[in-house]
């Protein structure tokens, strides 16, 4: 078998291997060297990790298992230090020598560090890999002030992440507007205004000349003499191809490693792919071109005849929440260009399309980037001004641009899924929704930017049978939306999950998305008649405890309003001792969490605690956080503890579409953080304010004032009506914050201003509350439940 060696365990190199394995799985004996101690991960998603939308483990593209399954020898954390091109051997920093018949260099690029005095100080870093990301997160825990040098794509994504981590951020940029390589001045200024609103501070036309501080960075000094303070400096001024080992080995290099249309370097049997390669004078730093190169290279190495790589038209999407920016091709017009421009300052919309020599050559979109991919395809096809005018003036005559795409055209750049692959999956597997295409092919699974293209592709493949305005289906088992399913359950009087799936034509036996949703909807519609189906519940709600990553569970007893007694604490302590609880933790919701409990011990612990369940696992009321209030506090205007306890006792055990948290503070100082709770109450002199839709999690949202009440009774009645309206109209797993955004505060206010509405909602709420039982008591008093859910079967092994 021929020996194939890959230097670089990143996106371009591994993608090439995947293509090779597809063409010819047994042709090569493959060895991979990677400097980073991780399997191949999605580098473009690092900014999302920093912004808190995604966790590190979610960006892994190839698990360790993948290497094993494909018989690939991977040496993570091992760097190739030299190549002997004549003897065809590579050497590593661990002293290994590995011979090869074919060698692929995919060393990517390094961040460019400005050679400033002080650049070696602690706290000066790049933003390029997992380690950088972890360092930034660590710094954010200890320090307040960050400076980002570079107002380009990467710099702004990093800055947004730093804001999310709670740091103050100064962005230093040498030009007078942002992202000048992708945007024109107008779009750059619109972007700046939006990011300033989000809390970023910009220092434009500033040139950094020194990094200040002793061992640890303390600030920056600029050419104009001014200074700023900074505890962390992120350098994001650009990247440079990592060509050092190629150059030393005598492989021809310019800016990158020089390759021809087949990714061959100047040396036989040595290839280069990705960010380290230079093709026709271009070095690419985006994922789509790398994947296209990988495909060509795989065919070359497997000796499959194919067309060469011709270069790529680039497009850029800024991944910052709340900002839509897209640009491609030529972005600044000159005397020979013709331009179509639209600028709406009021709505923050901007669109510019540039034509050169009668053909579309580039575009910049701000505010609405829906047409981005379409414009990119127009440019690739060389659409003329006349064709463009015709297509946009007469929408009926518009030919879908995806229809004209060749089958090899990439639809999903992140995962490298072509049009042909998606169309084939649509035909052979009978797919009808974007969600199904995602499940089967991976397209749109990573950044989601190609969703509209996938939808368009479904439309032109399925013709009239595809509903463009399809509502979001519950899951891929059915094309029906939440509203349609709830409507059908009501009109047809459906009573259990299997019946819903049979009558409404589910494609299979359901899944982990639709079964819990149906269980909720059925219970919400007929609380008194419906028998909860525990097998359709997620493990935590089925067992009434939170599963941990090692398979143990945690126990959180109810502590109404965060108020406890010495007796209760003593009991918790005794139980913790007796069952050797691993960790005791005070939770964010003012109660106590016992962690590391074995499943078999759960019922015993509950029985000994003899306390109600805290529902820390539930899609229901978690906690009501309170401040001390008027009983002790010199500022308190209301009895916040009393109100909190009352609310928690009323709504505990209620089933809702998602979890919800409440808080009661006794004055606007808001010590119980009512402003970031799903329902937050603030006592003021002689009245209660009710805030809704607050959220302190991933999507930080400040609560909106719904109403203000003089009496306790009115307040509690409104909370009941509000929660019931949420129960009846929200999509399963939609938090109150998202629901308020979807329906609009004005709409909710309007509904809840009608007195008869408030009364009828409360009547249905009372019905839902009437069936609530403490789940822990229920379990310990029911032998069948104990046996079915909590006992493990132990079979001793025979002694032979």
């Amino acid at each position: 078998m021929q020996k194939l060696v890959l230097i670089g365990n990143g996106m371009a190199g591994i993608r090439t291997l995947e293509e090779i394995l597809k063409l010819n799985p047994d042709r090569f004996d493959i060895t991979v060297f990677g400097s980073e101690p991780y399997p191949n991960y999605n580098r473009i998603q690092l900014s999302k990790v920093l912004q808190g939308d995604t966790s590190l483990k979610d960006i892994t593209l190839n698990e360790w298992q993948w290497y094993e399954d494909n018989n690939i020898r991977l040496y993570p954390g091992e760097t190739v230090t030299s190549i002997n091109k004549d003897q065809q051997i590579v050497y590593t920093d661990k002293g290994k020598g590995q011979p090869f018949d074919k060698l692929i260099i995919a060393t990517g690029s390094n961040p460019f560090m400005l050679p400033l005095p002080g650049v070696e100080k602690e706290g000066v870093i790049a933003f390029r890999n997992i380690k950088d990301t972890e360092t930034i997160v660590e710094y954010a825990k200890k320090y307040k002030k960050a400076a980002v040098i570079g107002g380009g794509l990467l710099g702004l994504e990093a800055a947004r992440g730093l804001l999310n981590l709670g740091m103050q951020v100064d962005v230093i940029h040498i030009h007078d507007f942002l992202m000048e390589r992708q945007l024109d001045r107008t779009a750059g200024k619109l972007l700046q205004a939006e990011l300033e609103m989000q809390g970023m501070n910009f220092l434009l036309q500033k040139s950094t000349i020194e990094i200040l501080g002793k061992k640890q960075v303390s600030g920056l000094r600029f050419k104009d003499g001014s200074r700023i303070k900074a505890d962390l400096v992120v350098m994001a001024v650009g990247i440079k191809p990592n060509v050092a080992i190629a150059q030393e080995a005598g492989i021809p290099v310019s800016r990158g490693i020089l390759v021809n249309d087949f990714l061959e370097t100047g040396i036989p049997n040595i290839y280069a792919v990705g960010e380290c390669a230079e093709h026709r004078g271009m070095v690419y730093g985006l994922v789509a071109p790398l994947y296209q190169q990988g495909e060509v290279l795989a065919k070359r190495i497997c000796e499959v005849e194919a067309e060469g790589y011709k270069g790529s038209v680039l497009s850029t999407h800024l991944k910052v929440s709340g900002v839509d920016v897209f640009s491609t091709g030529k972005i600044i017009e000159d005397d020979n260009s013709k331009v179509s421009k639209m600028h709406d300052d009021l709505r923050g919309l901007y669109q510019k399309i540039i034509f050169e020599k009668g053909k579309m050559a580039g575009a910049v979109l701000y505010g609405n980037t829906k047409d981005g991919n379409k414009l990119l395809n127009f440019i690739k096809k060389g659409t003329t001004i006349e064709e463009y005018l015709e297509a946009t003036q007469n929408p009926e005559k518009e030919i879908s641009s995806v229809a004209d795409m060749p089958d090899e055209e990439m639809i999903c750049g992140c995962n490298g899924i072509t049009k042909g692959a998606i169309v084939e999956a649509i035909h052979t597997q009978g797919l009808t929704t974007v969600e199904q295409v995602k499940g089967c092919t991976n397209a749109s699974r990573s950044c989601g930017g190609c969703k509209s293209l996938v939808s368009e592709l479904l439309q032109c493949t399925l013709g009239d049978s595809f509903d463009v305005n399809q509502k979001e289906a519950i899951c891929s088992c059915t094309p029906l939306s939440r509203d349609e399913v709830v409507q059908e359950i009501r009109t047809k009087g459906l009573t259990h999950i299997r019946e819903v799936m049979n009558v409404l034509g589910w494609k299979n036996d359901g899944c982990s998305k639709c079964k819990p949703a149906l269980n909720y909807y059925l219970g919400m519609i007929a609380p008194l008649k419906y028998k909860d189906e525990k097998e359709a519940r997620f493990v935590n709600e089925r067992l009434h405890a939170n599963i941990q990553k090692d398979g143990t569970f945690s126990v959180v007893p109810r502590m109404y309003g965060g108020v406890t007694t010495s007796e209760a604490l003593r009991k918790i302590a005794d139980v913790a001792d007796k069952y050797q609880v691993g960790t005791i933790k005070v939770t964010g919701g003012q109660r106590i969490d016992l962690l590391g409990v074995k499943k078999d011990d759960l019922p015993k612990i509950w029985a000994e605690l003899d306390m109600p369940s805290g529902s820390a696992y539930a899609k229901g009321l978690r906690t009501v956080k309170t401040c001390v209030g008027e009983s002790y506090c010199r500022f308190g205007t209301q009895d916040s503890m009393g109100m909190g306890i009352k609310l928690e006792k009323k709504f505990e055990g209620l089933n809702t579409p998602h979890k919800f948290k409440m808080a009661v503070s006794a004055c606007p100082r808001n010590c119980a953080e009512s402003g970031i709770k799903d329902v937050g109450i603030v006592g003021v002199d002689g009245a209660w304010e009710m805030y809704v839709g607050g959220n302190g999690g991933t999507h930080l949202r400040k609560g909106d004032l719904l109403f203000k009440f003089k009496s306790e009774e009115e307040l509690i009645e409104m909370i009941g009506a509000f929660l019931q309206y949420y129960r009846e109209t929200a999509i399963y797993l939609e938090r109150i914050s998202a629901w308020v955004d979807r329906l609009g505060l004005d709409h909710i206010k309007e509904v809840l201003s009608v007195e008869s509405m408030v009364k009828s909602l409360n009547a249905r709420m009372e019905e839902a509350l009437s069936i609530v039982q403490d789940p822990w008591k229920e379990a310990i008093n029911n032998k069948t439940l104990l046996k079915d859910l909590y006992q493990t079967v132990k079979v001793p092994t025979k002694v032979e």
């Binding site: 698990e63 991976n442 899944c511 079964k515 097998e535 398979g551 859910l789 079967v793 079979v795 092994t797």
Partner: protein, 107 residues
């Protein structure tokens, strides 16, 4: 030498909860045994190939279980991880004699 399979009695059919999984420990081995909606009984290794999630606690639909950790979909019949994820867990043959459930393990 060829590996032989030996049957291990794990209990009565009625001991297994319907439409759910059960954790069965045989010596140090942990097996997830499922009693499906169609009455069939299946056994696979109780450990998701992704991050080691306990499969016996997953939601069961048809012939599949969804791992409670990160929602991987795994066939309880042959142990194969479903698209778009990849991998496999060991599956074990089952025999039912007089309502008694036997799992076949390698000796």
């Amino acid at each position: 030498m060829e590996n032989t399979l030996r049957p291990v009695l794990v209990g009565n059919v009625a001991d297994l909860p319907e439409k759910l999984g059960k954790t069965v420990k045989i010596g140090t081995k942990e097996i997830a045994v499922f009693r499906l909606e169609n009455g069939k009984i299946r056994a696979i290794e109780n450990r998701c190939p992704h991050k080691g999630g306990v499969l016996a606690e997953g939601i069961v639909s048809g012939e599949f279980v969804f791992c409670p950790m990160h929602d991987w979909k795994i066939s309880v019949a042959d142990g194969k991880v479903q698209d778009p994820d990849v991998g496999c867990v060991q599956s074990y043959p089952i025999e039912i004699k007089d309502e008694q459930v036997y799992i076949f393990l390698e000796d």
